[in-house]
Each structure stands twice: as C-alpha cells, then as structure tokens.
C-alpha cells in the first residue's frame, strides 16, 4: 500500500504539487491521471526519494522509501524508460539491477521472457531500441526484484495496442495476487481500461478521486423515452435538471434509479436508461487539459 499525505513541492514560484493526499490500496490498480505538467511525475519522484518534498510524506507499506534496506525487492519503479545508457545492452541493464539487488542471476533471463524481449533483442544496445522495447525493458527492471508494489510513470507510452493489452493483463494479474499498482497516464482511455481506482490531478492539486465505478457513476444518467418532452417535464417537476443530448436522449446528473422512479410515477414508458459512461470523467479531464493547454483554442 502507498500512502501519500499532504505532499507539497514548490519549484521557485511554481507549485508543482499542492497538498496531495491519496492512497493506493493493495490488490488494486490505481490510475494517476492528469494532463502533462499536472504534477504526476513530481509526485512519483517524491515517492521514491528522488525529490524531496517541502511538506508532507509518502510511505510504502508504512515505511519511507529511503528507509527500505533493498528497495528493489519491495518496490518496482519505472519512471522513464528512456533514461538508460544508450551504450548498454538490454540484458546488461537488467543484470545491473539484478546485481544491485543481489538476487539470482537466472532472474534476468526470466524477466526478458516475461516482457517478451528475445535473446537477440536483449543483446542489442538500448540506443537502438524503440520506445516500446524500452518500456518492456523498464517494466522488466521494475519486476525483477519481485516487489509488492509497482510505481510506473506513463508505462503505456510507446506501446502498440497489443502491448497495452499485454501490460493491462500483466498489471491486472499483479494486483489480483495482492500487489499494489500505481500507474500514471495523461490518457483517460488508458487509465479507464487498466485502473480500479482513479486519482485525477490538475495543476498540482487532486481534483477527483475514487473507484472507477463510482467516478463513472457520478457522471450521471442517460435516459430515452418515446415521449421525450413529457419525460423532461416530469423530471423538472421533481426538481431534477435534465437536458437533451445528442441522439435523442436526455442527460441528467440524477441517479438512474431516481430517474426510473420519476418515469414510473409519471407513467412514461422508457426505451433506454443507463449510466452515462465516462462522460463526466472525460468532461472533467478535458476541462483540466484545456486549462493547461499551451496551444490557442482551435479556430
């Protein structure tokens, strides 16, 4: 389990991380979502002791990262797959990690197999690797010590769709066996596909967090009826705001059960009633992204 409490980090006048508090639970995949420059990487760097916070604390299974005697055995870390010496081979990079940790040498070949790097690829210099291969190597480095906790910064970057699917299965399996997985991404879809819990960060502050299901539920309800106008009036009479949305449906913030009850009481036949999947989350995420957007608004 990872516990972050009141983490704040300032660079000059910029508040990179602003009073961030959240936990990543064991047995679950926690997605750390936010646009570029939101403070994700800084938070992760503080977690693994690379950056000192101004205030607040980060603990892993109750201990500070720097107090772990052999951190590679407890926490697998991938911060930037490209941060490797271009002149080393993939196998050599894994071997260095294996030697720091003092684990059996056989782990190197095992890990190469786990991340599907062929012996020939492993013997090539990392300078010649594609980003996807570097990500696989980085994941192998994170996994080699068989840690309980995984901290991965943008691990899906550069992976092809099959690679993303592979990683999702890998992380799912890891969490199902009781591991804690925290991964960051700036892509909502990636997080939606992989994570159980979502922590959304923007401009250094946490803007939303919870289980994926709860966050998606918060997104509201989509409802369709033969007599759409009557339904809208009935909802309004019950004090619920609803607005027509694309595709001849009504969109409302209210819970689906409540909408169904209103429709039943008003005797209106519904043709569709469902949670608005991800719309709210996406909306919130787009707002966040727009706020930090560097390019001007499209004409």
């Amino acid at each position: 389990m990872i516990a972050i409490e009141g983490l704040t980090k300032k660079y000059g006048t910029t508040l990179a991380v602003d009073d961030v508090t959240f936990t990543a639970e064991a047995g679950r995949v926690t997605g750390f979502l936010g646009p570029n420059g939101a403070g994700k990487s800084t938070t992760l760097r503080i977690m693994v002791g690379l950056t000192r916070p101004d205030t607040g604390s980060a603990t892993i299974s109750g201990r500070r990262y720097v107090d772990l005697p052999n951190p590679g055995l407890d926490v697998g870390v991938l911060l930037d797959a490209s941060a490797q010496h271009a002149g080393r081979t993939g196998r050599e990079i894994l071997t260095l990690a294996q030697q720091y940790m003092g684990i059996p040498r056989s782990r190197v070949e095992e890990m190469l197999e786990v991340v599907s790097l062929t012996p020939a690829e492993a013997s090539r210099r990392v300078g010649d690797y594609s980003l996807g291969m570097r990500q696989r190597l980085g994941i192998a480095t994170a996994l080699i010590g068989d840690p309980e906790v995984l901290i991965l910064d943008e691990p899906a970057n550069g992976l092809d769709p099959a690679g993303i699917r592979w990683m999702r299965d890998l992380l799912r399996g890891y969490a199902d066996r009781g591991g804690t997985v925290l991964l960051s991404s700036h892509l909502l879809h990636e997080i939606e596909v992989i994570a159980d819990d979502i922590v959304m960060i923007g401009l250094g502050r946490i803007v939303s967090m919870g289980t994926k299901t709860a966050l998606l539920h918060e997104a509201g309800t989509v409802v369709r009826a033969v007599d759409l106008l009557a339904l809208e009036l009935a909802l309004a009479a019950s004090g619920l705001t609803a607005a027509p949305a694309d595709g001849g449906v009504l969109y409302t913030d209210a819970d689906a059960a409540l909408v169904g009850r209103v429709a039943l009481d008003a005797g209106i036949a519904l043709t569709e009633l469902r949670a608005a999947t991800g719309a709210g989350l996406e909306e919130m995420f787009l707002e966040l992204t727009a706020a930090t957007q560097r390019e001007g608004a499209p004409a």
Binding site: L68, P71, A83, G87, Y100, V114, L170
Partner: protein, 268 residues
Amino acid sequence: MSTIAADHVRTVPVTTTKRIPLTRITAVELRKMFDTRSGFWLIASIAITSALAAGGVILWAPEGELTYSTFATAIRFPVVIILPLIAILSVTSEWSQRTGLTTFTLVPHRGRIITAKAISAVAIAIAAMVLAFAVGALGNVLGAAIRGTTLVWDVTLTQCLYYVLGMVLSLLVGFMLGVLIRSSTGAIVAYFILTFLLPTIFGLLASSQQWFFDLQPWVDIQFAQAGLFVFEHTLTGTEWAHIAVTGVTWLVIPLLIGLALVMRSEVK
C-alpha cells in the same frame, strides 16, 4: 505472454531483506565502468597508450636516457589524461545519460553510490598503475636488448608509491569535477583547464611577479605535486605541506561542495 508473466512474477523466495552492502554497490559501479563500448575502450586505451609510449621511448630516447624512469615518465602522460576521464564519466553519466533515475532508486542513498564510485575509480587507477609499471619494465628490458644498452633500474619502491599517489590525486581531481559539475562535457573541459591551462598561467605569473613566485607552491596544485613524479628526488616536509594545502583547496573543499550539490540535485 501474460500466462508466462503470471507464472514467473512471484517465484523469487522472499529473502530476509538486508541493507545492500557497500561491497556489492562498488562491484556494480566497477562493472558499469566497463560495460559500455566507450567505457571499455577508455580503459583499454590505458593499456594501448602505455604500450605506445613505451614503444616511443625505445625508438626515440637518447642513448643515456633509456632507463626505467624515462619509461615511467613517458607512460604517465597518456594515463594522467585518461584516468580522470574514467572517473569523470562514471559520475556524470548518471546525470547526462540519466541512468541516475534507476541507480538512485535502487540505492536511495547517493552518498553510498558516490563512495562506491570513488572506491572503484581508485581501484582502476591502482590497477592501471600496476599495468603501466609492468609495461614500463617490459619496455625497459626490450629497449636494452634491442638497442644494446645496459639495463638501468633507477626507480625505488618509494618513488613508485609517490607516483601512484600522484596519479590517484589526478584521478580524484577528475572525480571531484564530475561530482561538482555533473555534466560530462563541462567536467572534462574543467579538468583540462585545471590541469593544463591554469598551471601555464600560474607559471607565467610566477616568472613575472616575485610575490607570486614565493606563493606558487602553496597555490598551484600541479606545481605542488610535480615532486611526486620526479624520480631522483625525495620530498621534503615543506613539499608535503604544499601537496596537503593545495589538495585541500583544489580537491577537498570543492569535493565537499560537490557532494552537497549531488545530494539535492535532481536527475531529470
């Protein structure tokens, strides 16, 4: 793929976690000095240039100077440039190649990493010196045989140790610059300024200004250490004091500043 992952991920027995010993970190840091093509050739070039320098002495040294000390002095020049480069790159590559992201997370105590790097750099320096002495001895024997001169061994063990000390100090200056500057190019340029440009300026200043002439041994680290590499000379107490004072100002103090910076510097 995922089934393999599932089978393999949890196979390592949970070991009793002990703090990573410094010996293991040092072994890894030593390995990292050899395991890239550039690192390998840099170290190999010590052997290659030593052999070339010895060859040069055999071919071109004047008759009376074909002695062991001439070989040792000739070999010094390439080695005194290459050794500090090895020390510089071992530190700066963590920043310039960004490998520090992995290194400092696997061992989240930068002081231990830097210590391990210092130990491995000094170990390489000593090994290189042993090699240089061996190449020099071989050159001396070959030279005497080829040119038909008498074999002259004019270096004592104490003088060898001085020589090694001098080399280790040069290497540590390189190491210090790596720690202080943390950029490969910057540290290498600084090393050449400190080793080749500054002594020239000090020399000019000393030859034109009397007050500096008296002061030079206390200020100029190269001048102060020159005695370590002169074989027919025993160092006096004052000369040791010169070495100590210049060592503190040019090596120890900047190294301490560099270490303080390394502890907080971010690996981007």
